[in-house]
Amino acid sequence: MFPMMPAILRNFFSKRATRRYPPMTREPFAEVRGELKNEGSVCTLCGVCAVKCPSQCIVVDKKNATWQWDPFACVYCGVCVDSCKTGSLRQEPLYRKAATGREIVSVKIVLKEQTK
């Protein structure tokens, strides 16, 4: 007679399926491919990440010793992290927050030879 009734009753007695998003967030999963981070002291500016990136969102400037990442062009595939030989690149399990303007993340790299 009422085919939907079992599902409705179950919904009444189970916890909510949604959450009030901006104030309430879920714990991120451990292996999520989120925001890209570069460890400035480990990076050697080899440029493999920039070559491998399918969306060409990384620019490695050896002259000025900067590593630049455009988070709005990035597709978060993680190919750069997989190809990074020094292990300086990693992805945080958190997604970037909504933004009002476009920005490019720039990391100043301190090469080991220079610190010696």
């Binding site: 085919p3 939907m4 079992p6 599902a7 179950r10 399926a17 999963f29 451990a30 292996e31 999520v32 491919r33 491998k52 990136c53 399918p54 969306s55 597709v75 978060y76 595939c77 993680g78 190919v79 997989d82 992805q91």
Partner: protein, 358 residues
């Protein structure tokens, strides 16, 4: 009766993606349909000239978000066959598991959208609530919610730990349980049957003649499924295509509803048999010559053609997506139907327009 022309789409409440149908109607009965495509063409095939063949994996994943795993898998299979690479057995099983998870969430998405197309909003929400569990599984195992991006040429980039495998099985038990609860409201409901039974009928012979694929073809009684080819690990598992005889919207609905359970069953079988070992083979050199690959997507057979001349960039890549094959049969379904049935019939082939136009 005077004849009038009514535009359906490209923007229409029932359409998730833009397709334009020029409907010629006489007293609200469809006489002729002329489609117009090209609203979301992105030129992804052309990118083969500027991205090397490893980077193309991420490009083809973006042909379609919903079945991204199968696009990448099909492309990788094609290039692997050209280069003579044998993928490790574990990678073949893992690809199967992820592609069935993709099929699960795609079918759940469609079941929700289809319920929405005939105005059953609460059923739509129920299906999408279940789908969220599968999306979470993909996010937890592969790292991304929709475009899982696990494929590379030669195998996979991610492995499944025993704990992750157990989580998948546990959550799939709950998905199955909740899906059983929705069988009656979906398939036994008077309104649903009234809106879908006898609508958009296409016979088996006509469907085959028009080159129809996937659940649309199986809904007409033809037991054709590309998974029968035994690509990846499908050859090792017990598998029977789900077929319904009537060829109407209700049959196609039933096929997809039953395929959800089939996907859950295939993942369980794969989890039992999955061998240990490497997940990716070593890739050396560049592809040369021509290659073809076919894979069953949630919407039907996808076809990849790759031509390469041993250089860094591929010479040509051609993708034939399932919706492209199903548009002619959609045009054959519509004449003779009432104008109010058009949204339901259009949705019944599960149109994926961004796939079709690439």
């Amino acid at each position: 009766m005077p004849v009038s022309t009514i535009p359906f789409g490209p923007q229409h409440p029932v359409l998730p993606e833009p397709i334009h149908l020029k409907l010629t109607v006489e007293d609200e009965v469809i006489k002729e349909v002329v489609p117009a495509l090209g609203y979301v063409h992105r030129g992804l095939e052309k990118l083969a000239g500027t991205r090397d063949f490893h980077q193309m994996v991420q490009i083809v994943e973006r042909v379609c978000g919903i079945c991204s795993m199968m696009h990448a898998m099909c492309y990788c299979e094609c290039v692997e066959a050209m280069m003579g690479i044998e993928t490790p057995p574990r990678a073949r099983y893992l690809r199967l598991i992820w592609s069935e998870l993709n099929r699960l969430h795609s079918h759940l998405l469609w079941l929700g959208l289809f319920a929405d197309s005939f105005g059953f909003e609460s059923l739509f929400m129920q299906f999408w609530k279940i789908r969220e569990k599968v999306m979470d599984l993909q996010e937890a195992t592969a790292g991304n919610r929709v475009i899982v991006s696990v494929n590379v040429i030669g195998g996979l980039r991610r492995d499944l730990s025993p704990e992750q495998q157990q989580t998948i099985l546990n959550i799939l038990d709950r998905v199955e349980d909740e899906m059983r609860l929705l069988e009656k409201p979906l398939l036994g409901d008077y309104t649903v049957m009234k809106r879908t039974k006898g609508k958009g009928i296409v016979s088996a012979a006509r469907a085959l003649e028009l080159g129809c694929v996937g659940p649309t073809l199986r809904g007409s009684g033809v037991a054709q499924d590309m998974r029968q080819l035994g690509y990846e690990a499908y050859g090792d598992l017990a598998f029977e295509p789900r077929v319904e005889k009537d060829g109407d919207c209700y049959s196609r609905l039933k096929v997809r509803y039953r395929e959800v359970f089939q996907s859950i069953d295939l993942i369980r079988q794969a989890m039992e048999k999955i061998p240990a070992g490497e997940i990716a083979a070593v890739v050396k050199g560049r592809p040369e010559g021509e290659g073809l690959a076919r894979v069953e997507q949630p919407r039907g057979e996808v076809f990849y053609y790759v031509k390469a001349d041993g250089k860094k960039y591929l010479e040509r890549i051609r993708i034939r997506t399932p919706t492209f094959a199903n548009v002619p049969v959609l045009l054959a379904m519509l004449p003779g139907m009432c104008l109010s049935d058009v949204p339901v019939i259009v949705l019944s082939i599960d149109p994926c327009i961004s796939c079709t136009e690439r």
